[in-house]
Amino acid sequence: MALSAFFSRLKEGLQRSKQKLADGIGAAFIRRRLDDAALAELEDLLISADLGPEAAARIIAGFRRTRFGKEVSAEEVRAALAEEIAVILAPVAKPLTIDRAHAPHVILVVGVNGTGKTTTIGKLAQQYREAGLRPVLVAGDTFRAAAVEQLQIWGQRTGCEVIAGKDGADAAGLAFDALGQARAAKADVLLIDTAGRMHNKNALMQELTKIVRVLQKQDATAPHSVLLVLDATTGQNALAQVRVFREMVVVSGLIVTKLDGSARGGVVVALAETFGLPVHAVGVGEQAADLRPFVPAEFARGLIEG
């Protein structure tokens, strides 16, 4: 998809969903003194964007210190608040860089059920292909019905090889074999899909550590990236997800999906403050081109602007 088409699409999506919030801010701040009531309303708006009561309170407290009692327009408030949030997000905006020297750079993709792991892998595969790399995909979700077929279709779409085992096969064993094959074939990137797992299911989480362990038997430095895929519709539970997944595997970064919906994904701000994990990319649609770099200023504006 052409970039302009993408932007118009993104803008369209953002416009619809952010309109209400923007209206709220507009109504609250036209020619108005930034007093307690105004700040409380502003805090509510942040909470509605899923920042969570704590992060919202903190940001507003910072705002109070610098701007309390001033006459401000809606536009100024928006810009200033977006700036404040962008500052929090700036340190975590780091694209995922592939090191070809690893041959292959092993990427393990993890997350709870239904966040969009498989779709994200399809999109990443497309991007790597376009960048002239040779990615190989591993259908490591051997649990969910038709998950393998889903990834295989992405393989066909992107022209990438997909390594799959039988349904119900051991994901760790499959990952081990796949790494061997990918090394022999001199692939640049190995994208390993995993079954969605609730982070509070200990046995399933242990499985993840097993995948990492067996990968390291082939390459002690693998996996070179562990991506946690996070659904933007998720609320404060995202904090628990990140915490537990991090305890189990060395999560190297986040990908936030479904940002083209009405959910604003404000929990990312709380995540940035709490964990400081890099946010590599955001998903804004179901097509291969709908995986974009994470741009703090843009994301922050998306949270509070129309």
Binding site: P53, G114, G116, A146, Q150, K201, D231, G235
Partner: protein, 457 residues
């Protein structure tokens, strides 16, 4: 979190008590804590506001200060308000009062769990309601989505509509209902593609399907982890299709499930079912009182007790207790007990149902209850004859060797098991001798045989 909310509240009320009177401002302070608790549980802001107002009127009317724990009392007022907002006590069933084939439409966002829910629902209707169910996937968006439903249908032992590639959702729905009529199905479950509430085109499509299929139930499937966006989603779907019920998926996670409240408030539709696991039978009735406790961070205690009850064979347990009381406890009983412990092995999983028990879980992991050893011990007992199990005294050297060989264990291992069993019976005899009073006086340590504390399994 429940503790946190209670502690927070008791802090507020401690200060109040010194002043001796409860003003509206005091209640407001307490409710600020309640508000934060609800927001942290992902209840949507407008819904929180509503609730807080309702609680405020009730809390002020109540004689909060005279109660021993005013904090707890406010929690109860909040809890009751939550139960009410979630639909009152008791579960609401599906509406199955329509001529067959009765269509059920499943809608929701991407990844909310519609397809899994469709298969679970089919299994439930087949098993519990004895209905003949046809599953059909209208999802032509996500790769292999139709195949996923077909595979799940096979696992559930339910028929799925044959896949015709290239067919549009509306046509698939028509074909499903036609097949349902022709082949005498009671219920046709239509699974749809996940769609964002802002996607006008896909929303129009599902409206068309709904208008054509005239479903008896339109179930909105919502992820229990959903945040504030729950209101937007609920509103958009309510405006598009006639949502008649909500299915809350992934309640086996540790999300507090505030989205349930938001969904219920916005759609006005009852929450009918909850998904509680990846297995196809993990679909349960929705009980507002349990989820209210969970939102407040009290955990789903009732659910936990139910699960434990499922795992433990009650008759077995009662028989065992009776035998123990009579001082008759042999290796046969011990083996039965071992079986139960291993079955409860997923204790940490069950604990996962309770938010905020991560600390307990960590402790359990540290305690390192090794179920492998329990299995080994069960194997040793299985290699004994009936007579040996009832009268372990007769087990001497040659019997020990045979038992060890039969169970793949070593003689010292058999010895250890026998010694341990001996300790247990000694402990039981002491307990009987001491009686209840003695136990109170000497504590549990009176039961321990000398040195028992040091020896593991």
């Amino acid at each position: 979190m429940f503790e946190t909310l209670s502690t927070r509240l008791s802090g507020v009320f401690d200060r109040l008590r010194q002043r001796g009177s409860l003003s509206e401002a005091d209640v407001t302070e307490a409710l600020r804590e309640v508000r934060i608790a609800l927001l942290e549980a992902d209840v949507a802001l407008p819904v929180v506001r509503d609730l807080i107002e309702r609680v405020r009127t009730r809390a002020i009317g109540q004689d909060v200060l005279r109660s021993v724990t005013p904090g707890q009392q406010v929690v109860k007022v909040v809890h009751d308000a939550l139960v009410e907002a979630l639909g009152g006590e008791g579960a609401v069933g599906l509406n199955l009062q329509a001529p067959p084939p009765l269509p059920i439409l499943l809608v929701g966002l991407q990844g909310s769990g519609k397809t899994t829910t469709a298969a679970k629902l089919a299994l439930r209707l087949k098993e519990k309601e004895r209905r003949k169910v046809l599953l059909a996937s209208l999802d032509v968006q996500r790769p292999a989505a139709q195949l996923q439903l077909a595979q799940l249908a096979e696992r559930a032992g339910v028929t799925s509509l044959p896949i015709v590639s290239g067919q549009a959702p509306l046509a698939i729905a028509a074909r499903a209902l036609e097949t349902g009529r022709r082949e005498g199905y009671d219920i046709v479950i239509l699974d749809t593609a996940g769609r964002l509430s802002v996607d006008a085109w896909l929303m129009a499509e599902v409206a068309e399907v709904s208008a054509a299929a005239k479903p008896a139930e339109t179930l909105l499937v919502v992820d229990a982890m959903t945040g504030q966006d729950a209101v937007n989603t609920a509103r958009a779907f309510r405006e598009t299709v006639a949502v008649s019920g909500i299915v809350l998926s992934r309640m086996d996670g540790d999300a507090r499930g505030g989205a349930a409240l938001s969904m219920r408030a916005v759609t006005g539709a009852p929450i009918k079912l909850v998904g509680t696991g990846e297995k196809l039978d993990a679909l349960e009735d929705f009980h507002p009182e349990r989820v209210a406790g969970r939102i407040l961070g009290m955990g789903d205690i009732v659910g936990l007790v139910e699960r434990a009850a499922e795992t433990i064979d009650r008759a077995d347990a009662e028989r065992l207790a009776a035998r123990m009381a009579r001082g008759k406890f042999d290796l046969e009983d011990y083996a039965a007990q071992l079986r139960q412990i291993t079955r409860m092995g997923s204790l940490t999983g069950i604990l996962g149902m309770l938010p905020g028990v991560s600390k307990v879980k960590a402790q359990l992991a540290e305690a390192n209850v090794d179920t492998a050893i329990l299995k080994r011990q069960a194997a040793i007992i299985n290699s004994m004859t009936k007579a040996e199990r009832r009268h372990p005294d007769i087990i001497k050297a040659s019997r020990k060797r045979r038992i060890a060989a039969g169970s793949g264990a070593t003689v010292p291992e058999v010895n250890r098991l026998l010694k341990q069993f001996d300790d247990i019976t000694t402990m039981m005899k002491r307990a009987q001798k001491l009686g209840e009073k003695g136990l109170m006086r000497h504590g549990l340590s009176a039961l321990m045989p000398p040195g028992a504390g040091r020896r593991g399994f």
